[in-house]
Amino acid sequence: MHIIVTVKQVPDPEAPQSSFTVDRAAKKVVVASSVPSTVSDMDVYATEAALLVKDVVPDTTVSVLSLGDSHVMDVVKRPLAMGADALYLVQDAELAGGDAMAIAHALAAAIRKIGPFDLIMAGRQSADLDQGIVATGVAMLLGVPVMTNAVRVAMNGDAIQIDRIVDDGIDTIEAKLPAVVTVSNELGQPRYATMRGIMAARRVDPTVWSRADLETLESSEALTTPVDLFEPEKSSNVEIIEGENAADAGRLLAQRLRTERLI
């Protein structure tokens, strides 16, 4: 079985908020150079989901695919250190900076070039854009079914079965292969990289492609136009309740909320 995990490298979202600013004219987020890159967190869960399948299906290969313009090898090799086998990098600033549809086209073209697959695992949403669009686009462009926000994945015969959280509980659904599954953090703690995994990852030479290598790229046309990007204003007018000590402040808070008829 061949599983492809799409992995996006993003600026560490846990970096101090002050290291992210906007260039309003360019409608772009500016990230301070001190911010390290990391794997978009949901893609770590997607990797875990792929490895859970690999754990039980003999002869499974997990390939990692990332589109970007400044891949840091230690970052994009993290899924390999967890247990994935191969790494494909598409390096092109324009494609990587495109809108969801353009990115989906580029990933779909890269997947066609990688070859036949049984499963594609992606994150439910990327940590920098929070869109939750790209993986669905990849599925549509490749003509395979998509199931999103998996919190459990398991093989059921030759179908992939998932649980997904819906409004009042959990739906269990399944798809024939090949299929695309997006994965959410409720899947459970992803495995850590092992020493052996880290050593093995070091020895993997990534396959690196440029735009010109994507022979089947159909389009990089954007379907949306950015109009504005800005930092929302926060009107900080908090009323701090003070007392003689913390406990006193707690009492006064209760009284205040009661006077305001809030509690």
Binding site: R124, G137, P145, D171, T225, E231, A246, R251, R258, L262
Partner: protein
Amino acid sequence: MAGESGVLIICETDPSGELRSITGELLAAARTLADSMSGESVSAALIGRGVAAKAQEVIALGADTVYVVDDPIFEHYLSETFVPAAIAVREQANPKVILIGHTPNGRELGPSLGFRLDTGVSTDTTEVNIDPSSGGLVAARSLAGGLFRQVTAFNRLPHVATVHMKAYDAAEPDAARTGQVVNVDASVDASQAQTRFVSHTEVAVEGIRMEDARIVITGGRGLGSSEAFDDLTKLADMTGGAVGATRAAADSEYCGQDIMIGITGRVVSPEVYLAIALSGASQHMAGCSGSKNIVAINRDPEANIFKESRFGVVGDYQQVLPAFIEELENLGTA
């Protein structure tokens, strides 16, 4: 298709066939859009099993035309069946704009429909407007876990957006409103399906549903233990509230993942949001910033949560909270 006009929303119903609250929210958003499109109309797609009876309710909430796709095949959501149904409705309604709830199912339907129609999509949109110069949709959404706002226009028709839950207030239903009901045969061939619904498991909620609660009491990593969460439950029982958590608290296993609030969790907008020992990270605030009154208890005066709060106490929750609870007990029920 040429001659697009008006706004189409996709209704959602619960397993007992009742309209979900997002339906009214979408209709409210659609109404404002349609009004600024010089009075174009609002239509609604009602897709499900045995949903036809709800058409009048959809009209009462603001739809001019309801397209009903009623078939047992739509008992459970699957993109493979709902996308063709939505497309069948779109072909009849021919809208400029399609609005879908950013709900568990809507966040799958929106992008799927967008790609199928070869048009752009904005997800988790907090505000929709019509650009007076182009007559097209402009959609605002959060980016980078809520740090920034992004406003997007669309290059092709129709314009598709999934709308953040609770971003719009539903109108009061007006039973006297009149509208048209059109039955649509989506003729979806289930035998060709690649995906299959297996089962639905109800997750029992203890106490009141977080989304319906007037008070939500949320604990963060600073609580430090699951015992501390028991105190929050006690406070919730006293006040008729519900308990929530940050991702850091849930990941530390102080509580279950199912009560996590935020960009990847649940979305609430209660009257009172009591935020205890949580820092107010943007990814968390994305799930609660619609709250009417945020009240923070945190020992760090610089914590971001104070910037978003109406009332706050700076101090160790271990001192503040017991006194707060005791005083509420003294005050008796409101």
